[in-house]
């Protein structure tokens, strides 16, 4: 996916951006990427706009746009530090080992306030519940003679490996009576090292579980991280650590994982951490792998300008209605008798095949004769709908058609955006040709690539504007929104057309000028639309129609 959350004209500066220090928080990708202030974009129509490398430093920190959010990428080490900081905070308050505080925080799903409150109230109960307290004195058969166990039982759950007990010992799990090595938690329940290792492996690898308790059936004692790291293999220990930090990030509203499969970057976006903030902003963020996603709902795409709640409604609707939609969507069908293709024209459902004169109903594909005098509407459709769709009884044909109108445009932009990516590779070829046939430098032929990037980005915006328009209440505000939508759509179609036109090597300077102008215009239209919608959320200008009515009340 191309980078689509930003609108600067040169991105060569950002390519290495994230590599500066693996171990530190990587700072504000957005601010420094947005070097194009409105002023600099006004000048972008200038012939040099695509060639000049604007450095973020030269422009200083530009105020971010109304539809953008500040965010930063956290490295694994940074996540660890945040996690440990929380643990140390709690440890400091109650005089605990940080490792114990960690276990308590995980037990409370990282709700620090609740933990503090409950711990103040009844520390013993919390410890017992979490599995921190050592169990009552050990059964005499287990290695009660181990001094190491006694010593460590003092505080945390951590443990020294207990020397094989002097009394005859048999591992209660594998029944081996001469294990080379045994371990026990502070409770003293000893098991052979092989069993511990296998147990931890099963928990961590197969069950994806990071909470590991003593193997004894009546003992709830938790193994702390140090014990796990000591006993299990390096890979399992690493996996355990991953599970632990996933749990930390997953339980916080301030941090989110990149939702793309296999990607493990963590993003922090404080301005979108509260649920209420998501009523007015669409926090689009990007991980260092250039995966664009929404911090609010973790959707793996930029769904600006539509806020998370309504986007979800729309996606749900598309899913629920897809069967019905696909069924009616296509505007051609095959004659039920002779299979020749018939195109529907106008709104009449009474179809007559030109070839065989077969008369049938467009909606249900049944013979027209059976429709009797219900010629204006297809009852059989209503029937069918009643069976098929969940809320079909209340759904009128009209509202379905309304939905389809928006849906078709949504789907068209989605499809065209994908096609524009195909165009991308063609464009690359063209650029190579241009470079060889003209005296242009590499940087000078970037204009076509920029154009494709921009088309993709704006089609994504347009796609979501149709979902938004579907839910906007009728009125002046919606009309203004649709004006912006229309302007952007027209600009995008113009630029797309130009991109697909043949390249005449003699005319490159002219084409370049033209394409550059149009790209800048498209970019500007997109910005206007996004800025206006973002502003509209803040001003409370957007009112939703009955399909999203819950949201009006929530305001």
């Amino acid at each position: 996916m191309s980078d689509e959350s930003d609108y600067y004209m040169d991105d060569s500066a950002s390519d290495n951006y994230y590599d500066d220090d693996d171990d530190e928080m990587v700072d504000g990708t957005q601010d420094s990427d947005r070097e194009s202030s409105p002023a600099s974009e006004g000048e972008a129509s200038d012939d040099d706009a695509f060639g000049v490398e604007l450095s973020a430093a030269a422009l200083g920190k530009v105020k971010r746009k109304s539809y953008e959010v500040n965010f930063e990428t956290l490295s694994d080490a940074a996540v660890d530090r945040l996690m440990n900081k929380e643990a140390e905070h709690v440890a400091g308050i109650f005089g605990l080992e940080p490792s114990t505080a960690l276990l308590l925080l995980r037990h409370m799903a990282w709700n620090k306030e609740r933990l503090i409150e409950k711990y103040m109230d009844n520390p013993e109960a919390v410890r017992k519940d979490a599995g921190i307290l050592a169990a009552p004195p050990l059964a005499p058969t287990s290695s009660s003679s181990s001094a190491g166990v006694r010593r460590s039982a003092r505080r945390a759950n951590s443990v020294q490996p207990s020397a094989p007990p002097s009394t005859p010992f048999m591992c209660p799990v594998c029944c081996d009576d001469e294990p080379p090595n045994t371990y026990a938690l502070a409770c003293g329940h000893a098991f052979c090292s092989t069993c511990w290792e296998t147990y931890l492996h099963t928990k961590v690898r197969e069950e994806g579980e990071f909470t590991v308790r003593c193997m004894d059936s009546d003992c709830k004692l938790l193994a702390d991280d140090a014990f796990i790291a000591r006993v299990c293999s390096k890979e399992d220990s690493k996996r355990h650590h991953e599970l632990v930090s996933r749990n930390f990030v997953g339980n916080s509203s301030q941090y989110k994982f990149c939702p793309l499969p296999g990607c493990s970057y963590t993003i922090s976006c404080p301005s979108a951490a509260s649920k209420s903030s998501l009523m007015t902003i669409v926090p689009t963020v990007k991980c260092p792998e250039n995966h664009v996603f929404c911090f609010g709902c973790s959707l793996d795409q930029d769904h600006r300008p539509l806020i998370c709640h309504v986007s979800k409604l729309w996606l749900k609707k598309c899913q629920d209605d897809s069967e019905t939609a696909n069924w009616i969507k296509s505007n051609t069908k095959e004659c039920t008798k002779c299979q020749s293709t018939i195109e529907k024209n106008g709104g009449c459902n009474h179809m007559t095949c030109k070839k065989c004169k077969n008369e049938f109903c467009w909606v249900c594909m049944g013979p027209w004769a059976e429709h009797g005098n219900a010629w204006y509407t297809c009852n059989r459709y209503e029937e069918r709908e009643g069976v098929e769709a969940r809320d079909a009884q209340s759904k009128s044909r009209a509202s379905l058609e309304r939905y389809l109108q928006y849906y078709n445009r949504w789907a068209n932009h989605e499809q065209s955006a994908r096609l524009s990516l195909d165009l991308y590779s063609k464009t690359e070829k063209k650029m190579e040709e241009m470079q060889t046939t003209s005296n242009l430098t590499w940087i000078e032929v970037q204009f076509a690539r920029k154009a494709v990037d921009e088309v993709f980005k704006c089609r994504m915006t347009l796609k979501w504007t149709y979902a938004m328009a579907f839910y906007l209440a009728k009125g002046n505000e919606k009309e203004l929104f649709e004006d912006n939508q229309r302007d952007l759509e027209k600009a995008v179609e113009d630029l797309s057309e130009l991109l697909e036109s043949p390249i005449d090597p003699d005319n490159i300077p002219v084409l370049r000028q033209k394409m550059t102008d149009k790209t800048v215009y498209v970019l500007k239209r997109n910005e206007i639309l996004l800025d206006d919608t973002a502003q509209g959320y803040l001003d409370g200008r957007w009112k939703w129609n009955a399909d999203a009515a819950i949201l009006n009340e929530a305001e």
Partner: protein, 228 residues
């Protein structure tokens, strides 16, 4: 590890066979020590007394680090056991499994599960509702199920256990009304309105038409349900 697993399971089987007092039995299915049928007597003083309950047991690859897979082969009327599939809702077979639990200790836990139903964490919601509405009626039904489905078998047909339920040996005539834990009079009342017996039983069972619920559910409501 495979050796350790074999060693342990063999020892566990022996433990059960050596301890005649507990009344547990264990048999191999298809000569595999990893697929077994265990059984235990219904606990005395309960509505399961006198029954012999068969349990299908699969020993997973990673045993004993993960729980034994168990389900009842005998049909049991109990809130935490599915009356249809025999699936069991018991913490030690899930999150609270511990590697030191064994075939024997788990079978004993199942036995004690029969003594202590947990209707608030049900596996079979209909049975649980019945239990909560009228314990005596529930017990009567559970006793009827025990007599019908969990009769101790003589050793015939035991040579080659197939893993299938013993229900095939059952008497064919069963009292559907008693099986469902309903009142004969209630079933007949709606049958008289022209509804089929099977349908009446199904609906009355679902809406828990028992004990104190009966005066709260109007005849019309029942008819509406029957017509659905």
């Amino acid at each position: 590890m495979a050796d350790a697993r074999t060693r342990r399971v063999k020892k566990e089987i022996q433990d059960i066979q050596n301890d005649r007092q507990a009344g547990l039995t264990i048999e191999l299915v298809n000569d595999s020590i990893f697929h077994l049928i265990g059984s235990f007597p219904g606990p005395p003083g309960t509505c399961y007394e006198g029954g012999k309950f068969d349990v299908d047991i699969v020993v997973p690859e990673t045993y004993p680090f993960v729980a034994l897979k168990m389900k009842f082969l005998s049909k049991v009327y109990h809130p935490n056991i599915s009356s249809a599939s025999g699936a069991i809702c018991l913490d030690i077979l899930k999150d609270n499994w511990s590697p030191i639990l064994t075939l024997k200790s788990t079978l004993i836990s199942l036995q004690s599960l029969l003594c202590t139903p947990e209707p608030n964490d049900p596996q079979d919601a209909e049975v649980a509702k019945h239990y909560l509405t009228s314990k005596s009626s529930f017990e009567e039904t559970a006793r009827y199920w025990t007599e019908t489905y969990a009769r101790p078998q003589t050793n015939e047909g035991r040579g080659a256990p197939s893993g299938t339920s013993k229900t095939s040996h059952l008497p064919t005539v069963r009292d559907e009304v008693a099986m469902a834990g309903l009142e004969r009079a209630h079933v007949e009342q709606f049958e008289a309105l022209g509804f089929e017996r099977g349908r009446v039983i199904e609906v009355l069972k679902r809406i828990n038409y028992r004990g104190a619920n009966v005066p709260k559910i109007s005849e019309d409501t029942v008819v509406e349900e029957l017509l659905k």
